[in-house]
Symmetry: C2
Subunit: 203 residues, 2 copies
DNA sequence: GTCTATACTGAGATAGAC
DNA sequence: GTCTATCTCAGTATAGAC
C-alpha cells in the first residue's frame, strides 16, 4: 500500500503518546498498524528515527504558531517594555491549542522533554524557536543576568514538560482540567517567578 | 559473599544515576558488580524491585531531614503566618545537601520524578511527607483554593525534577552550578509563583 | 521501489542443579 | 545462596519476492 508510511506514523504517534516511547515496542506498532516489522526499518531506519519522523510531521506548525504569536506580542509592544506573561503565552498557548485537537501528541512532546528522550531530536526541532523566545524573555525581564535567566528558563521547561505529559507524579491534581486553563495557571505562576528580583551577587 | 546484595545496590545506584534506569541493563550492573545474573533476581526479584531497594536505602534520611526542617519552620512561625520560601526550602534544601555528598542518587530521584518512572515507588517513598508539605504550603498561601494550589505544586514538582536530573534540555544552562545555588534560585522562583494572586473564577 | 520472511543479538526472567 | 541453562521478547539486519 502507498500509505504504509502514514499508517506507521499515525499508529506510532498514538502509541508513543499513550504509553511512552520506550514502553512501546515496534512490534506493538506494526501489529496495530498491520504492517511487517521490516517496513518500519525500510521507511525510517530505526525506532529512534521513527520517533523523529513522528515529531517532524507535527512540530512544525506549533513552532510557526509560536513565532507568529511572538511577532504579534513584539509588534504590540513596539519599542516599549515587553510583558513577561505575554511572552510566556506565546510559547505555551499554541501548545494548549494543539492539545485540544491532538492531546496525545502534546503528551509525547512533554515526555520527550521530561524523559530526556533523544536530546538531539528535541534540540533540532525546538532550538531555533527557543533561542528567539529566550531573547524576548531577556527583554521582558531585564533585571536578570544571563545566568539567572537561563536557570529560570530551565525551571520553566521542567514545569511545562511535567504539565504537558498529563502524568501527575502523585494523584494530586485533576488531570481533566482542560489545557487552556492549565496553561493560563502556568503562565501566571511562571510570570511571577520570572518577575522575582535577581539574587544579590554575594557568593 | 555476604555483601553481594550491597555490591549490587551500590553498583545499581551508581549506574542508574549516571545512565538512567531504562538505559542501564541488569547485565551491566552484574558485570560491574562482578556477580551472577541470577543473583539480582534472587536478592531483589526483578529490575524494578532492585530500583525500589536502591531508593529505599537512601530516601529515608532525606525525608527525615525534610520533616525536621519543616518542624523548625513551623515552630518558629508559631501561630503566625508561614513563609512560603521557608516551606519550599524545607523540602528542597535537604536534597541539595544530599547532592553534595551523593549527586548521582539525587539525579536518580530527579529522573524518577520526571520520567514518570515507577509511579508506585515514588508514591510509597514520598507521598506521606509530600502530604504534610502540601498542608504547610496551603497555610503559607491561604489565598489559593485547593485546585489552584495543587496545580502550582504540580508545576513545582516539574521544575524540581528537571533541576535535579542535571540534564539541561538544550545546552542552556551551566550544570556545574552547585546544588545549593541552584536550589536557592529555585526557591526564589517558586516562591514568587506561589505568591501570585489566585485566578478569578470566571470560566 | 516496496514489502515479507527470517535470522541475529541482547534484554529480563525463571527453573533447577549444586 | 549461587550459578548454568534456557525461555521469551525486544530492536535490528539482510536476502529476496513482487
Amino acid at each position: 500500500m502507498i500509505d504504509t508510511k502514514q499508517k506507521i506514523l499515525d499508529t506510532a504517534e498514538r502509541l508513543f503518546g499513550e504509553q511512552g516511547f520506550r514502553a512501546t515496542s515496534l512490534r506493538q506498532v506494526i501489529a496495530a498498524a498491520k504492517v511487517n516489522v521490516a517496513a518500519v526499518h525500510y521507511h525510517f531506519g530505526s525506532k529512534d528515527d521513527l520517533l523523529d519522523a513522528v515529531v517532524d510531521r507535527k512540530a512544525g506548525p506549533v513552532t510557526v504558531a509560536r513565532m507568529e504569536w511572538l511577532d504579534r506580542v513584539e509588534a504590540e509592544a513596539g519599542t516599549g517594555p515587553l510583558n513577561v506573561e505575554d511572552v510566556l503565552a506565546s510559547f505555551l498557548m499554541p501548545t494548549a491549542e494543539m492539545a485540544q485537537s491532538n492531546p496525545t501528541f502534546v503528551r509525547l512532546m512533554g515526555r520527550m522533554l521530561s524523559e530526556g528522550m533523544m536530546p538531539s531530536i528535541v534540540e533540532r526541532h525546538f532550538r531555533e524557536s527557543a533561542m528567539r523566545f529566550v531573547m524576548a524573555l531577556a527583554r521582558a525581564v531585564p533585571h536578570l543576568g544571563r545566568e539567572e535567566l537561563m536557570w529560570r528558563v530551565h525551571f520553566m521547561i521542567g514545569a511545562m514538560a511535567h504539565t504537558l505529559t498529563g502524568q501527575p507524579a502523585m494523584h494530586m491534581v485533576d488531570m481533566s482540567t482542560d489545557f487552556p486553563t492549565r496553561v493560563r495557571q502556568l503562565v501566571k505562576f511562571l510570570g511571577a517567578g520570572f518577575r522575582a528580583p535577581a539574587e544579590r551577587e554575594e557568593n
